[in-house]
Subunit: 165 residues, 8 copies
């Protein structure tokens, strides 16, 4: 099973890398590309159009500002596309969020939080888990681990705030 991970600029990589780490943790392969909806439109289109044949089952597309890449991916393939809005130096991420989430009728992009790299990866795994029971089970284990981490922090907090009791 394989996820296509595309970003509009290599400066998006630090956020995208969080998604890749998630995919790796779930033993899901990733094809990672720098493709620009505006600077390399043909390559972007070719990637989207050929994704299914290449064995990709879900696409994650990250972009900032007027973030059109997720929409371009969604327009050229019938598989689900996850949009990952990237914070840039002005407008606090609102521009990329709205450019990705407010897609017109017919072509949705499954949008996650601004700079939410991990969540893009987790959502991709969840989508794949519709088909692959192994991933569903792995996700439940992952959830359980997250839960346990919070429980430990909860215990630490109870300890740390003993003097307020």
């Amino acid at each position: 099973m394989k996820v296509g991970v595309v970003m509009g600029s290599d400066s998006d990589y630090p956020v995208v890398a969080k998604a890749l780490e998630i995919l790796k943790a779930f033993d899901v392969k990733a094809t990672v590309r720098v493709l620009s909806a505006h600077r390399t439109p043909h390559e972007a289109l070719d990637f989207a159009a050929g994704a299914e044949e290449e064995g990709i089952e879900v696409i994650i597309a990250a972009a900032g500002k007027s973030a059109h890449l997720p929409g371009v991916m969604a327009a050229l393939t019938a598989m689900p596309v996850i949009g990952l809005p990237i914070l840039s130096s002005t407008l606090d991420g609102l521009d990329s969020l709205l450019s990705i989430v407010q897609m017109p009728k017919g072509i949705p992009v499954a949008t996650v939080a601004i700079n939410g790299g991990e969540n893009a990866g987790i959502l991709a795994v969840q989508m794949l888990s519709v088909k692959y029971p192994r991933l569903r089970e792995a996700m439940k284990t992952y959830r359980e681990k997250m839960r346990e981490e919070v429980l430990i922090k909860d215990q630490d907090m109870i300890e740390k705030t003993r003097n307020y009791r």
Copy 2:
């Protein structure tokens, strides 16, 4: 194949109905519920926790204002959850959009446009199509139909604007 469709209030139904029509068009079953993260939290949790067993493979959750229902669904099940922000009478939908999309690390909600009922339905079908090839093919046909509708409108427009040529 079945989608769980929940809404925080029955007043959300006109938007949700657009998702249901899409599901019906793709011959995907839907379990439709009114569940409030705040007024019936236990029922909401029970639904999410039991969804997998009930045969549900994807959840669509619609809510307005401080829209917590999609996040509650996502917290209680490992399957993908689609968040559908509903426009209410103040703040132009920004409150429900941000309440749904800005989920913390670990628990994503696949967010679509404000009042984007059709797109919630289409995204659900796309997620299911990871598993069911029939839906992938049907989605391609649907896309082709959308394309043809635009082409007809394009022809009409060319006709209608002949005097500007």
Copy 3:
């Protein structure tokens, strides 16, 4: 001389028509199309790629919500592209404005006001007037007419508010 005028949906026509009226008033021809960056991406790309050959010298692209059409046009042609953000039912036009104006480095879109149909038309004429002196002169005349209209309204206002003097 000819302008390519594209819109993402035929529901944008009432705003786009104002641009067409301006072009007609300046005796500039227009090729008008309904092209969707998402529903008919190939047709959109073909139009942009072939625009120069077809004799088009400037493109006006109108779109709402996650408004990607102007950016798609700009990506596929080297001629100037004017972006016309369309108001839709949520977020008061902010989504389409930001989706159009916040273009990444390298591919600008010349953005006008939300629903600013006339201004899109006028800007197209101004761009053409770099080449065609006739249009520069016509624009000066148009400006003079606008000025005179305001002067008449000014006189009317002076008259109408005489009792406040």
Copy 4:
């Protein structure tokens, strides 16, 4: 008398600690927990449901981004719940503010300013002071002290700006 103080992540502690210091200054006990509406939903629910029995009379809930924890608390207990929106790295706190304050009809959350830790503590004391006259008197003394601090700063300012007189 006791206040339940919950936060969605231990990274919220620096802001929450300001509330704890206020409670301590008023000699009000606090049970402090890290509970996530999304990562430990059952523990969060259990805490809210058992709060009354544990002797808690008011709950303060702090959370950032899609801040659902205060709403979850409010849904599961009939006591007043104070929501404390936490600033995160994008959108300048607007997301957590709207996620907390825009609660639907029936389940209010008493929201204070973004990162307003002290005010969450003071509001909790004020709520308790409805029942405990000692706290009402202590609050009046606290107010008087605040007033005197401002008066001293006022005197200092008068001194410092003497050359502008």
Copy 5:
């Protein structure tokens, strides 16, 4: 037990009336006043300063635009003050929300949703219920009734959407 309910303008009454209906349903008395922080500042101050003596235990203050009334109430009394932001004709309620919720350190206002009249009433009852066990019980009953109403709507929805199953 008594709640002071003040509004900045009698045009706020339709929203405030929803709070009054809640108070009545819980058999809580209300003193209702039109007091303007700006047009009748002395009367506003006198009301706040005398509220405790008059037997008022919680104040609800409603205001729109630059909504200063809740803050003025909070500045002049040590009891908890609930702020109810009122939607006016511009800026979609954002101005009144921010004017009320973003109170500086030391003087909190317990803010509810824009136009959230019912929730202001419910929060007042919850605050009083810290002292009056009868109200706590009544609130639990109220919650149960709300829950049942949602359950009925849920049943109706299940029925109504049978054809999508």
Copy 6:
């Protein structure tokens, strides 16, 4: 004593008329003009430059969208200029508010609320009252009248809500 009242478009008149009524009530004369910073820039400049000589002592400038007229007035005269932002069909008045209030260092515009016609008039009278004691006294009387109107509404409200006591 005389106020210059300018508006960018005669469609602003309904809001501006409220300012004129205030001026009339205080027996202050007004010169009322339709002047566009963009369509009649020279006339706008001439008006501002000649205002002092014409006996104008304060200018009120109303404009919508990219509202430059108040700034143009302020740039061309040393007298105080009041900016009145006008609501237009998109962005809820935020564009005109920010275009008027965020003036760069050196050239302030005294900005009032969006569509705040009365307040523009009152502020003009207050500025004039620095010089004319008659207006200061008249303003105090006006304030007293406003206060009395609120007091009457307060009495009416007390009456009307008797059943909630």
Copy 7:
């Protein structure tokens, strides 16, 4: 001639000091106070109520967040009040701007840009210049100096960019 300059917190001083420097440059006296609408309401009211008698002719009021101080000043005196919104650590100054500028009908506050200390001072001088011709002349000289500074920067820029000619 004297200006009353009040701020809600001594942390506002760096911005307020810019206004004081302007006043000093124009040889206008200033009474500078730290007064909190919320923490020292009585002192704030007393200052406003006594300002006229103390010889103050214009008030500048600076405040951040839910910035009520300018409105309180305006409510208690008939002289013009200038509002200076202060940037705080969240929401980028939008909260203080809206809290100050969106004043209800009857009580305007002459609002300047966020953190616009100089402009608050200049506007105060302009208001005083309605009465004092010396200040009008001094303002014209100040404007001329500003103009000359820009002209020098313009010359420097022409020089510096010679290689682009």
Copy 8:
């Protein structure tokens, strides 16, 4: 061929310089000026009015906050004017963006992204390329170079992420 490049303050130069570098790369001359719509209005007007005669064919105008300079340029010349919004210390660039893009009917400003210096330069070249075929060809070459840079980054990314495959 020559572009007029004006900025409201020399502090805008770092952003403007990116436009100049683009123009230089395309061998387009630039006249660069510091002109303030508010501090040197006459010089600004003179520049705009004389631009055509001076051989300027397109104007780029950069400004921050209440950014009126592009609109002033557009009002005084019939040639196309590009508006470049500059980020300042508050409101994240939203004020300058809206002040520039929301121009009223009749006088458009071709707006690019906040701080989008390069794009302002590129858009100017595109406008000139309507007339000068050399620039059209050079732009295509520039595009091709951009494309190749992205392709190299794409190759690097494929390499760098090999372990995720």
